[in-house]
C-alpha cells in the first residue's frame, strides 16, 4: 500500500517552472527558501535542449529520513502518506537537512525553523490538486493519491535513492521518438 505522491511525465515536462511558481504563490515561501526546484538534464552540453527536466520537491518517502532524524518529533507521516512538518515544534537544529538525501527540508533563517512541501495537504483534504500540479500547463506533473496506480519502478538517470527512503515519486519515461531515443541512449551509457 503506497502513500500519496507525485507522478512526473518526463516526456511532457518542458521545465517552464510553473509548478515552482504555483507552489511559491500558494504557500508564500519565506525569503531564501525553496520547496520545489527544477533540475535540467544536459542543458549546458546539448544546445538543442535538455533531454529532460526533473521537477523535484519533497517526495513524501515511504521511509522518510527526516521523520526518523528529527529529535523534536516535528515531522509526522499522515495515514495517507503525506509527510508534514509542524513548524511550531521545530527547534531548528537542521539535522533533517543533513539527513534528507533529496534536500527537501529548507531552512528559514528568519524564523529559525525548517520548512518543506506538505503536498498542499489542506488542498488535498478539500479534494483539490496540490498547487504545483494545478499550475502545470502540460499536465506533466500529476498527483497520485493514496493507493493510486502503482507504476513499475525503473531507474531514472540522475535520480537515485542513496538512503533507501523509497520516495513516493513515479516517473513516466519519455515516449516521443527523439526524446525516448536520447533517454534510452543515456541509460545505455550508464549501464556501461
Amino acid at each position: 500500500m503506497r502513500g500519496a505522491g507525485f507522478v512526473l511525465d518526463l516526456g511532457r515536462c518542458v521545465g517552464c517552472g510553473a509548478c515552482v511558481l504555483g507552489c511559491r504563490l500558494s504557500n508564500a515561501w519565506p525569503a531564501g527558501v525553496s520547496w520545489r526546484r527544477i533540475v535540467p538534464f544536459n542543458l549546458d552540453r546539448r544546445g538543442g535542449g535538455p533531454t529532460y527536466h526533473l521537477s523535484l520537491s519533497c517526495h513524501h518517502c515511504e521511509r522518510p529520513a527526516c521523520v526518523n532524524a528529527c529529535p523534536a518529533g516535528a515531522y509526522t507521516k499522515r495515514s495517507d502518506g503525506v509527510v508534514v512538518l509542524n513548524e511550531e515544534r521545530c527547534i531548528g537544529c537542521r539535522y533533517c537537512e543533513m539527513a534528507c538525501p533529496f534536500d527537501a527540508p529548507s531552512y528559514d533563517g528568519a524564523a529559525g525553523v525548517m520548512t518543506k512541501c506538505h503536498l498542499c495537504s489542506e488542498r488535498i483534504d478539500s479534494r483539490l490538486q496540490p498547487a504545483c500540479v494545478a499550475a502545470c500547463p502540460t499536465e506533466a506533473l500529476t498527483f497520485r493519491g493514496r493507493n493510486g496506480v502503482e507504476r513499475e519502478k525503473e531507474p531514472v538517470p540522475g535520480f537515485s535513492d542513496p538512503a533507501g527512503c523509497a520516495p513516493s515519486l513515479d516517473f513516466i519515461p519519455p515516449r516521443r521518438a527523439k526524446r525516448s531515443h536520447l533517454y534510452e541512449r543515456l541509460r545505455e551509457v550508464l549501464k556501461r
Binding site: 517552464c16 511558481l21 526546484r37 532524524a69 527547534i91 537544529c93 525553523v113 540522475g158 533507501g164
Partner: protein, 282 residues
C-alpha cells in the same frame, strides 16, 4: 521560472557543532579511556578527580554551546523530553549519563572500590556517547561521513582521553606509552580512511563548503600534525599538560574538517556526474 534550491552550502553554519562535538568527544573519551589506562599501568587507587572534572566541564560546556546551534532554542525542552528516541536524543542521553557520573566522581567522597565502579560506569556511558556521536552522522546520503569517517570519533576520543590520563596522573602512576601509541596509530588510520573517502567522493557528490574543499590538503596535514604528534610528545617526552594544547587545537581542526569537507549525494550532483560521464564517453 526555474528556481533552483537555495545554496545550502553558503556560509559555515556548523561552528557551534564543531565546538560541541569537540568538547563532547573529548569528555567522553576521558571517561571511556579510564579502563584502558588502568590496563596499561595507571594505578587504580588514583582517584582521578581532575580527569572527572575535565569530563564534567567538557560535556556541560559542549551541551551549552550546542544550544547556540538551534534556530529556536526556546523549544529545546521538546527535544530533551524525547531523549533516547532517535540518534540525537540518544546522544543527549549518554552525554547526561556521562556528566552525572563525572559529577559524582568529583563531588562525592567514595572508597576506592566504589570509585573504581563509578569510573567503570562513567566509562560505559562515555563509550555510549562516542558511539552515539558516530551514529548521528551515519547518514547514507553523506558520502564523506558514512562508515569509517563517522566511526573515527571513537579512536580519536579514546586517544584524547588516554593522553589526558597520562598528562594528569602522578608521575609514578602513569599508564604506559604503548596504549597511546596504539590509539594514535588507530586514529591515524581512521584519519587516512577519512581523507581517502573525501578524495573518492569529491567527484561524486556536492561539497558542503567548496572553499574548504579547495584547501583540503592543508586541512589533512594540519589535522595530522596537531592530533597525531602531541600524544608522542606527552608519552615520550613527558610534555605533560603542555602537550594537550596542540591536541585540543587538533580536535577542533578534526571537527572542522568533518563538517567543512562534507559531501552530499544530491540529484544535482548525480546529474553532473552522469553528464560528465557522457562527455568523457564521447
Amino acid at each position: 521560472m526555474t528556481a533552483t534550491r537555495p545554496d545550502w552550502s553558503r556560509g559555515f553554519h556548523e561552528t557551534t557543532l564543531v565546538c560541541f562535538t569537540a568538547a563532547a568527544l573529548s569528555g567522553a573519551g576521558v571517561a571511556a579511556a579510564r579502563p584502558l589506562a588502568w590496563a596499561t599501568g595507571l594505578r587504580a587507587d588514583d582517584p582521578g578527580r581532575g580527569a572527572a572534572a575535565s569530563v564534567l566541564t567538557l560535556i556541560c560546556a559542549g551541551l551549552l554551546i550546542s544550544i547556540g546551534h538551534l534556530g529556536r532554542p526556546s523549544r529545546m525542552m521538546r527535544a530533551l523530553l524525547r531523549t533516547g528516541k532517535n540518534a540525537l536524543g540518544t546522544e543527549v542521553t549518554f552525554a547526561a549519563l556521562t556528566a552525572a557520573a563525572a559529577l559524582l566522581l568529583v563531588c562525592v567522597p567514595l572508597r576506592a572500590a566504589a570509585l573504581q565502579l563509578l569510573w567503570v560506569l562513567a566509562s560505559l556511558a562515555g563509550l555510549g556517547l562516542l558511539a552515539s556521536l558516530a551514529w548521528v552522522y551515519w547518514l547514507p546520503g553523506q558520502i564523506a561521513w558514512k562508515g569509517v569517517p563517522a566511526l573515527s570519533v571513537i579512536p580519536l576520543g579514546l586517544l584524547v582521553g588516554y593522553v589526558v590520563h597520562t598528562a594528569t596522573a602522578f608521575p609514578r602512576a602513569r599508564p604506559g606509552m604503548w596504549g597511546a601509541l596504539i590509539l594514535a596509530a588507530l586514529d591515524a588510520l581512521a584519519w587516512a580512511a577519512r581523507c581517502a573517502r573525501v578524495e573518492a567522493g569529491a567527484g561524486r557528490g556536492e561539497a558542503a563548503h567548496p572553499s574548504a574543499m579547495a584547501q583540503r590538503r592543508w586541512i589533512y596535514v594540519l589535522r595530522f600534525l596537531l592530533v597525531s604528534l602531541p600524544p608522542l610528545a606527552v608519552v615520550l617526552f613527558d610534555a605533560g599538560l603542555a602537550g594537550l594544547v596542540p591536541m585540543a587545537l587538533g580536535v577542533i581542526v578534526d571537527r572542522y574538517a568533518f563538517y567543512s569537507l562534507a559531501i552530499k549525494q544530491t540529484t544535482e550532483s548525480e546529474v553532473a556526474r552522469i553528464e560528465s560521464k557522457m562527455t568523457s564517453d564521447e
